[in-house]
């Protein structure tokens, strides 16, 4: 018998019970849609984040001090230990290009002349080389010790008249102190520039740690503290001489050795079990990806259960169908249908149910993943290999769930079947 005829006859049977067939495939639809949606979202997320790491960033080591073995992302359990002196010393170490502190300073508002917008975070204090030439759309980097700032497009767009290079902004810190900065540059993206910031788009102002961090840290808890011996940083950035692995390791070893030794201010302050961690963006993202993978496995697990339930649903409905159509099976056998014809017919029907479920589920999943990616502003990536996999799973589910009912149908005795009412 011809496969196309099998398909036609199966489709006729499925269409004969539209509601029943729809409900049966729902389990498969949900399972496949969940996997595809999540995989699309995950792939988009990874592409979005990894796409953000510029080659320049790859030689940066992001560091903080925390209890050994602590779980979590960047800055988890970080302590304010790094002093200005430490950073200066690290800068001069062999293999280190530059080292500077990083702090997120809490603010109340940012004003452009009379216009004031509430702004809780987004003020970032760092060293001059934190903002790289390639990140600037216009203007230049701020200089250490100057009252200058670089803003991102999202911040510029917050004000009615777009802020441009040369304008003055007034910052109101959490403690109520104010400071005036001159905008000297605007970045080309509103997304974060390092793993410390996170990679989502948000309005941000970048200023030099000197003088702003000292001013803000005076009792405002801007992420570090001033204990009278000068400010201490929670987070630091160490730039290696180049982005190759050996250079990065050299810089990392040199900086870590020094910062953990009693010679440094940081080393003095470190508790017994505390260590200094220095990682590149890629290494930090690896952790994020691990979490993402874990979540993905979890969703896939749930989807697998849904697929299992869906398969049982198909198997169940196929058994009902075989019983209902006992007489039809008898007729087909009487007019010359072989066992394998009957087997093929019912198997095709189960596979069609599985594949239809998989196709609908894939469509829904891609749509949901696309919407999700669009909502959190990521470039949508379609994991095409998963689409192929989903269809294959649909076929597999159909075959597995249809095998026993189809075998039962094929074994039906035509004499009994023709007598069946």
């Amino acid at each position: 018998m011809r496969p196309l005829e099998f398909l036609r006859l199966s489709w006729r049977s499925i269409r004969g019970h539209t509601l029943r067939s729809t409900l049966t495939t729902l389990g498969i639809v949900i399972g496949i849609a969940a996997v595809i949606a999540f995989v699309t979202l995950g792939a988009s997320l990874q592409a979005g984040i990894i796409g953000d790491i510029s080659p320049d960033d790859q030689r940066n080591l992001y560091g903080w001090a925390a209890d050994e073995g602590i779980e979590g992302g960047p800055l988890a359990g970080a302590q304010p230990v790094f002093s200005e002196t430490d950073l200066e010393t690290v800068s001069d170490l062999e293999g280190v290009e530059a080292a500077y502190g990083y702090a997120s300073i809490q603010t109340q508002a940012v004003s452009d002349g009379d216009e004031q917008v509430a702004q809780g975070d987004g003020l970032i204090a760092a060293g001059a080389s934190y903002i790289r030439e390639g990140d600037l759309r216009e203007g230049r980097q701020f200089e250490d010790g100057e009252r200058e700032a670089v803003i991102n497009p999202a911040m510029a767009a917050q004000f009615e008249e777009n802020v441009s290079v040369g304008d003055d902004l007034e910052l109101t810190f959490l403690g109520g102190q104010t400071a005036t900065v001159t905008v000297v540059g605007i970045t080309d993206t509103s997304e974060g520039l390092s793993p410390f910031e996170g990679f989502e788009a948000a309005p941000r102002v970048y200023v030099p740690t000197d003088p702003y961090y000292g001013e803000a840290a005076g009792g405002v808890g801007g992420g570090g503290e001033d204990d009278g011996e000068g400010v201490r940083f929670v987070a630091i950035v160490v730039e290696a001489a180049s982005m190759d692995a050996a250079a990065i390791d050299r810089a990392r070893t040199a900086a870590t050795d020094y910062l953990e030794s009693p010679e440094s201010d940081a080393g003095e302050r470190l508790g017994e079990d505390q260590v200094v961690t220095l990682q590149t963006s890629t290494e930090l993202l690896q952790q994020l990806e691990d979490i993402l993978d874990l979540l993905q496995n979890f969703i896939v697990g749930i989807a697998a259960i849904s697929l299992l339930v869906g398969s049982i649903g198909i198997a169940n409905i196929m058994l009902v169908s075989v019983t209902e159509r006992t007489r039809e099976i008898g007729i087909m056998k009487a007019v010359g249908a072989q066992n394998r014809d009957v087997l093929g017919l019912f198997l095709t029907e189960a596979v069609v149910l599985g594949v239809v479920g998989a196709v609908i589920g894939t469509g829904l999943g891609l749509a949901a993943g696309y919407l999700g990616a669009w909502y959190i502003d990521l470039p949508p990536v379609y994991p095409l290999e998963y689409v192929a996999l989903a269809i294959a799973v649909g076929v597999l589910v159909g075959v597995l769930s249809g095998l026993y009912p189809a075998w039962r149908a094929a074994r039906t005795d035509p004499i009994d079947a023709l007598r069946y009412e």
């Binding site: 011809r2 009487a334 007019v335 249908a337 066992n339 004499i415």
Partner: protein, 235 residues
């Protein structure tokens, strides 16, 4: 035709025993020759072995003992698959309850048996259309069975029985579900089939139906009680 013999069906000392606790001899030594082109009625009370005989002649079942050949081929020697294949090509069934596929149109129902013979779709539908025209349903080809009257359904079933050009048409109470007038027309159709050279075997319990056949085989308790030629009423 695959056969070269003169007999459409031949049974030699056929026994069929069902074991449901006590062995039941549904057929107990039946020998019968059904020549090509003949019209045979098989009659008998319930439990006489009519159905069993029909299943055996229709290659749906195999005898416990004895030999059956259909269309010149020995049924007992065949595997299940070969028997199915023989049934498909050499036997055309017409049932009391029509037994059409409910979701297939009249045309598709008639074309169905050839699907299992591997005939191409275009060819099958063409043949089915011709047969439906022959049974007077040329204008009902696209109707589903539930859109047809009982008489029309039985005509579809007759067309389906003929589609593979079988060695015999096996009818089981073909008028049992029809009113007298419609039943008469169906019987007239069988007369036509016979006149056209087809071999017809009809199982019935109605004497007036059996009377249209060339001869009547009376079954009783699994044995042939007597065989009488048509129109004579007694041997």
């Amino acid at each position: 035709m695959t056969s070269s013999g003169e007999r459409a069906v031949s049974l030699r000392d056929v026994r069929k025993t069902y074991r449901v606790g006590e062995p039941v001899h549904a057929l107990d030594g039946v020998s019968l020759e059904i020549p090509r082109g003949s019209y045979t009625a098989i009659v008998g009370p319930s439990g006489s072995g009519k159905s069993t005989l029909m299943h055996l002649v229709g290659c749906l079942d195999t005898p416990t003992e004895g030999e059956i050949s259909v269309g010149g081929r020995e049924v007992t020697a065949l595997s299940e698959r070969e028997r199915t294949s023989l049934r498909g090509s050499e036997v055309g069934f017409v049932f009391q309850t029509f037994n059409l596929m409910p979701r297939l149109s009249a045309l598709e129902n008639v074309a169905l048996p050839q699907l299992f013979q591997g005939v191409s779709t275009a060819e099958r539908l063409e043949r089915a259309r011709t047969l439906l025209e022959e049974v007077g349903l040329g204008d009902r080809t696209d109707h589903l069975p539930n859109e047809l009257s009982g008489g029309q359904r039985q005509r579809v079933a007759v067309a389906r029985a003929l589609v593979n050009d079988p060695a015999l048409v096996l009818a089981d109470e073909p008028t049992g579900n029809l009113d007298t007038e419609t039943g008469e027309r169906i019987l007239a159709l069988f007369d036509d089939l016979h006149a056209a050279g087809n071999t017809v075997v009809m199982v019935t319990h109605e004497p007036h139906v059996a009377a249209r056949a060339e001869r009547t085989v009376h079954l009783l308790d699994g044995r042939i009680e007597r065989i009488e030629p048509a129109g004579e009423g007694r041997e």
